[in-house]
């Protein structure tokens, strides 16, 4: 207790130790008693324990807002520090960090360790053009900010690349689904997906590459959709609350009105669907879960359903499907199998 600084560090370490032990769970009564003794030994202990809890909560928020390639982190050698683990494939990292260095004292260390988002915003003004690639793995949707402060929600099993230069902001959705809350900027913002170009006119919108069609939802503002990567004709001009489905083959367009909260529900891992085909719901659900929803026949896949479920809640999904009179579900180890219930003259015999 002579050196307040080091004793403070000891308390912090003890608090972190207890916090971690509590997260591990399964503490014995004697361990719990020791924890209580430690907690009431001094207000400083309690204060530190609460502070560690706060740091943990903040850490969770900070991590959720960061693009992190977990597989790369795990695969890396434990003792080696490498560049570029946090931001996926930063193509011009070298140039950016070199230019950004004099700007703030913490930059060299940050950049060397993988340059999280904060760096990008500062460096944005120094090095053009910029390119990045972002991917979200199965079960792990994520949100992040682009250098212009546009917020991207990237669904699980999705991938996009972006290229910003002095004159335009161009994003390419390679697969899956992404929503964009576009930051106001003089440079036009466009998303390219499956040969379509979605031009933003100050807005929040979502682009999903489904099996047979691209779906574009506008939550706020207006967008235009053009064929042939922006060189073709205007396919749709959408305002808030509108959803366009565009067939990949013939670019046939159908536009419908949707509830805006439905469009963005997946940001919170909710799966909301109104009169949507089951196969599309299954696609959304399967991005998030290890247990897959397998739709066995085309008739079941085309069945239109309405619901609002938590994306990770298997039990509710199963109950929901069981309520559908036309469907029959069976549970296997790693999947829920759905097929049309065989009905013959009111007799619901099981096969």
């Amino acid at each position: 207790m002579n050196d307040p600084k080091s004793s403070q560090a000891d308390i912090a370490h003890d608090a972190a130790h207890w916090h971690a032990l509590q997260r591990q769970g399964g503490l014995s009564p004697s361990q719990q008693a020791r924890f209580m003794d430690w907690l009431v030994a001094s207000p400083a202990h309690l204060r530190e324990y609460l502070a560690i809890g706060r740091v943990a909560a903040e850490l969770r928020d900070a991590l959720r807002a960061m693009p992190i390639d977990l597989d790369a982190l795990i695969a890396s050698e434990p003792a080696r520090e490498t560049v570029g683990n946090v931001v996926a494939l930063p193509i011009r990292q070298g140039a950016r960090t070199a230019n950004a260095r004099p700007r703030r004292r913490f930059l060299p260390r940050m950049a060397a360790a993988g340059a999280p988002l904060a760096c990008i915003g500062i460096a944005a003004h120094v090095a053009w053009p910029q390119s990045e690639r972002y991917a979200a793995a199965h079960g792990a949707p994520r949100s992040f900010e682009l250098p212009d402060r546009t917020v991207v929600h990237l669904n699980a099993e999705s991938e996009l690349s972006m290229r910003f230069d002095l004159f335009r902001r161009r994003v390419e959705l390679v697969r899956g689904q992404a929503s964009f809350v576009v930051a106001a900027n003089r440079r036009p913002f466009a998303v390219h997906a499956a040969g379509l170009q979605v031009r933003d006119i100050g807005t929040t919108f979502d682009v999903a590459l489904l099996r047979e069609q691209a779906r574009i939802d506008v939550a706020d503002g207006r967008v235009q959709v053009l064929g042939e990567a922006g060189k073709g004709r205007l396919l749709a001009d959408l305002s808030a609350g509108q959803r366009a489905r565009i067939d990949y083959r013939d670019h046939a367009v159908s536009v419908s009105q949707e509830d805006v909260s439905t469009m963005t529900a997946w940001w919170q891992r909710r799966i909301v669907f109104r009169d949507a085909p089951l196969r599309e719901v299954a696609e959304q659900f399967n991005r998030l879960n290890a247990v897959r929803l397998q739709v066995d026949d085309a008739a079941a896949g085309a069945l239109r359903i309405t619901g609002n479920l938590s994306g990770d809640d298997l039990a509710s999904l199963r109950a929901f499907l069981d309520e559908q009179p036309a469907l029959k579900t069976t549970m296997a180890a790693d999947r829920i199998v759905v097929r049309t219930r065989a009905i013959s003259g009111g007799d619901t015999r099981r096969r």
């Binding site: 560090a9 706060r54 900070a62 960061m66 520090e81 940050m110 340059a115």
Partner: protein, 163 residues
């Protein structure tokens, strides 16, 4: 549990006119905990849950004292919302600053420590699941968590002092 109570904990620490009030809350929580500990002869089975009950009660009392519009106070969720909603703009700025600092710090941690923190706090995996994924022991996972938390906590204290 910490994840759920994050906003409440923030409410403890970042409040308008914050420091004195936060310190009062800590002191009061401490006294109540100590009293319970002494009167029950160390028989509190789950001290952490108990601690949060005490802290939540305090936060609730404080909210009532401030004559906030009455809420169905049995609902924990509302208290949490209440506490997080009344943070001022400065709190939001401070929080953004702390988040940025944390993100920088995370970048300086060894990869495996970072991976453990991601799996634990972002993805909510258990130590056992994390251990399997990394091919190490649960004990090792705990060590990473302790190290990561200590580094972040210390750095945030240092930052606060430096500014």
């Amino acid at each position: 549990m910490f994840a759920e109570h994050g906003p409440v904990l923030r409410g403890f620490f970042v409040r308008r006119g914050a420091n004195d009030e936060a310190e009062d809350m800590v002191q009061e929580t401490y006294l109540r905990l100590l009293r319970a500990h002494q009167s029950q002869g160390g028989a509190i089975a789950n001290p952490e849950a108990y601690l949060f009950t005490v802290a939540l009660n305090l936060a609730r009392e404080q909210a009532v004292r401030r004559r906030r519009p009455l809420l169905p106070i049995d609902e924990l969720e509302n208290i949490t919302t209440l506490l997080s909603a009344e943070e001022s703009v400065e709190d939001a700025a401070e929080r953004a600053q702390r988040r940025q600092r944390l993100q920088q710090l995370l970048g300086t941690l060894p990869e495996h420590t970072r991976a453990v923190l991601v799996m634990q706090y972002r993805d909510g995996l258990s130590y056992k699941q994390i251990a399997e994924r990394l091919g190490v022991s649960s004990h090792m996972v705990k060590k990473h968590v302790v190290r990561g938390l200590s580094v972040c906590r210390r750095a945030l204290v240092d930052t606060a002092e430096a500014w």
